[in-house]
């Protein structure tokens, strides 16, 4: 039986800043809660190809699993949690910049 496709977002690092970004319907955001949620596998593959072609904007685009919490994407793995919020050793990086 084919594996059930779980919701995903396209994420990457920004070429110039190097920080974590997420693909939205119209561009890129630094906030996971603004990411475009992909629930269809073919659509997700296509959006990943589109993202990967933006070589002068992003580095290392990939599909990351998310869970929907009240319709808002949230990480399902702790690595993606840290990517979304920044280092946990003290308040700096994304958790401060995004407020």
């Amino acid at each position: 039986m084919p594996k059930t496709f779980t919701p995903k977002v396209v994420t990457a690092n920004h070429l110039l800043k190097g920080d974590v970004i997420y693909q939205t319907a119209t561009g890129w955001s630094r906030r996971l809660d603004e990411a475009e949620v992909l629930t269809d596998e073919a659509d997700a593959d296509l959006r990943l190809i589109e993202a990967s072609q933006q070589v002068d904007v992003v580095v290392g685009a990939y599909l990351a699993d998310i869970a929907l919490e009240n319709g808002i994407p949230a990480p399902t793995h702790f690595r993606e949690d840290f990517r979304a919020t920044g280092p946990s050793n003290y308040a700096h990086g994304k958790q401060v910049e995004l407020g």
């Binding site: 070429l15 110039l16 190097g18 002068d56 580095v59 290392g60 702790f78 920044g86």
Partner: protein, 554 residues
């Protein structure tokens, strides 16, 4: 200290100009990431979890106040106002933006520093005893030979595309503070029958397959060093496994072929390499040695030290833990702890770096060192200056009296920064340090090395910690494996794995149980953790960590 020649300066300017053009082409979209990545790695630029990271070489951990101030300036101007000192005696900037990196490299070049060969499959920054040139137990200063190795290995045409990275460490003391037995090549300076030479150790390393290095030559005359090392690296460069990166390091080559066969191959190759060295290398070593002449040590009254030691218990506590015997009368080696309880091990703010630079200039003959244990060393301080130095350190959170104690933890960046990490390291170190500080027990516990890695690559040296902690991802949850009884010294030993791992919530209580067990077992307060462990073995610690197993067996 070594001062750059015009050749060094010109070489660096050329490399920096090349990289500036490469960055411009990447930003303009004329280089793909696949094309750019090997170029940026050659210049120490990684792309990590949250940002780019620039790893700057601090050759054999030695720098002067001008260089330290420049690191502070770079952190303030192009990063978030701090830097992270690493287990390879380097500094990492965690937040540079790509367009700024060429300017950062130019700023480094102003003070004779660079990021070349801090990444990639090359010979990396040569590390050395952080007490070099100062330690009372030293036979010879390892820094001149480390500098010779830096010059030999930098841009060495044969060694730019090797099977894997290659790390060399040198110690000039019988008490090994440079972890030489866990390096691809470890060099121990020796004197035999009035002749200078080296014990050459090969095939050590940590990572997923930890190995203690083996002696390939028990006395290599000084004049043969470069041709012999070139023979070792050359042999490995040819027969090292390029089919599997996990089997590519020389430790696997030595393991698979055996030390005797490797020695035979190296001796054969040495016959050839020796012909290509005309003695100019020894002549260069003599010239380099002149750069490392000892400072003009002074003689003055030790009364201010004795007075403060007698009257000030805070100073006394710091002096008891953070000072080491110096070879010159009236001097001490000062270890400045970058392990304030609850802070990130190895981090220093720009202000802290400037303060340490000022203090080195005022009290320390303008010398600083970075230790592989992620602390900063002032190698030459007269004892009469220690009270003033301590008072200055206190003002900026740098007077923590915990060198060699349970809170003086090595921790790799882990998943808070590193793209390779499988779990976090720093918060575990913070929690352990805070927990033992809260109960004010660490001075009673005594010498105890905890080393934490956030993945199997073992940048945090967990295998050779008295208590080693390895963070892993177990089915999407952080999980921490414990090893006990590791040793990073001349008696190097890989620790024993105790059993199943612990969750992030369980790991600090587990460390507390290990420490409680040690305190119960030790014969007296002078018996350190590693001695107790050697005496008792794993069993009592295992019983304390897994009481349910004991119950099940009964």
């Amino acid at each position: 200290m070594y001062s750059y020649s015009q050749f060094d300066t010109d070489f660096l300017a050329t490399r920096n100009a090349q990289f500036r053009a490469q960055v411009e082409r990447r930003i303009a979209g004329n280089l793909t990431e696949d094309e750019f990545k090997p170029l940026r790695l050659m210049n120490g630029l990684y792309l990590q979890l949250h940002a780019y990271m620039l790893r700057v070489a601090i050759p054999y951990g030695t720098l002067n106040s001008r260089q330290m101030r420049k690191l502070a300036e770079i952190g303030d101007r192009w990063d978030k106002g701090y830097g992270h000192f690493t287990t390879r005696q380097n500094i990492q900037f965690n937040w540079p933006e790509l367009k700024d990196v060429p300017d950062m490299l130019d700023a480094l070049a102003e003070v004779g520093m660079h990021a070349i060969q801090t990444s990639g499959n090359t010979i990396r920054n040569v590390t050395a005893d952080h007490f070099a040139g100062a330690a009372a137990d030293e036979i010879a200063d390892p820094r001149p030979v480390a500098e010779l190795l830096r010059q030999w290995s930098t841009d060495h045409p044969e060694f730019q595309f090797m099977p894997r990275k290659f790390k060399i460490a040198v110690t000039g003391s019988p008490n090994d503070r440079a972890v030489t037995k866990a390096h691809d090549i470890g060099l121990r300076m020796l004197q035999r029958d009035g002749q200078n030479g080296y014990e050459v150790i090969v095939g050590g390393g940590l990572g997923r397959t930890p190995m203690i290095g083996k002696v390939i030559n028990d006395f290599l005359p000084e004049a043969d060093l470069l041709p012999y090392l070139e023979a070792i690296v050359s042999v490995w460069n040819q027969i090292g496994r390029r089919d599997n990166k996990y089997k590519a390091r020389i430790k696997i080559t030595v393991h698979e072929h055996g030390i005797d066969e490797i020695r035979r191959l190296v001796e054969d190759r040495f016959v050839e390499t020796r012909k290509t060295f005309t003695g100019v290398d020894v002549q260069m070593l003599r010239e380099i040695e002149a750069h490392f002449a000892a400072p003009d040590f002074v003689k003055k009254s030790e009364a201010p030290f004795k007075d403060a030691y007698h009257k000030d218990p805070v100073f006394r506590s710091w002096a008891d833990t953070n000072l080491t015997a110096h070879r010159a009368e009236g001097y001490k080696i000062v270890s400045i702890s970058l392990k304030k309880h609850g802070e990130t091990p190895g981090d220093a703010t720009g202000d802290q770096m400037r303060l340490m630079a000022d203090l080195a200039e005022t009290y320390g003959h303008d010398e600083l060192r970075i230790s592989h244990e992620q602390n900063v060393i002032l190698p030459h301080v007269h004892v009469s200056d220690l009270p003033s130095l301590h008072a200055a350190l206190q003002k900026d959170g740098l007077a923590t009296a915990n060198i060699g104690l349970i809170s003086d933890i090595i921790a790799c960046p882990g998943m808070d920064y590193c793209a390779l990490a499988t779990a976090r390291s720093i918060p575990i170190a913070q929690e352990i340090a805070t927990a033992f500080d809260d109960i004010k027990r660490e001075h009673d516990i005594g010498a105890l090395k905890i080393k934490i890695s956030g993945c199997i690559n073992a940048c945090g040296h967990h295998h050779v910690g008295h208590i080693g902690i390895l963070g892993l991802d177990r089915a999407g949850v952080e999980n921490y494996q414990i090893t006990l009884g590791g040793d990073h010294t001349e008696a190097a030993r890989v620790g024993d794995r105790v059993g199943p791992g612990f969750s992030a919530d369980e790991i600090v209580p587990a460390v507390e149980r290990i420490v409680d067990t040690y305190l119960d077992l030790r014969t007296d307060a002078d018996e350190t953790f590693d001695i107790t462990y050697q005496r008792t073995g794993l069993a009592p610690f295992k019983a304390a960590l897994y009481p349910e197993t004991k119950v099940a067996a009964e």
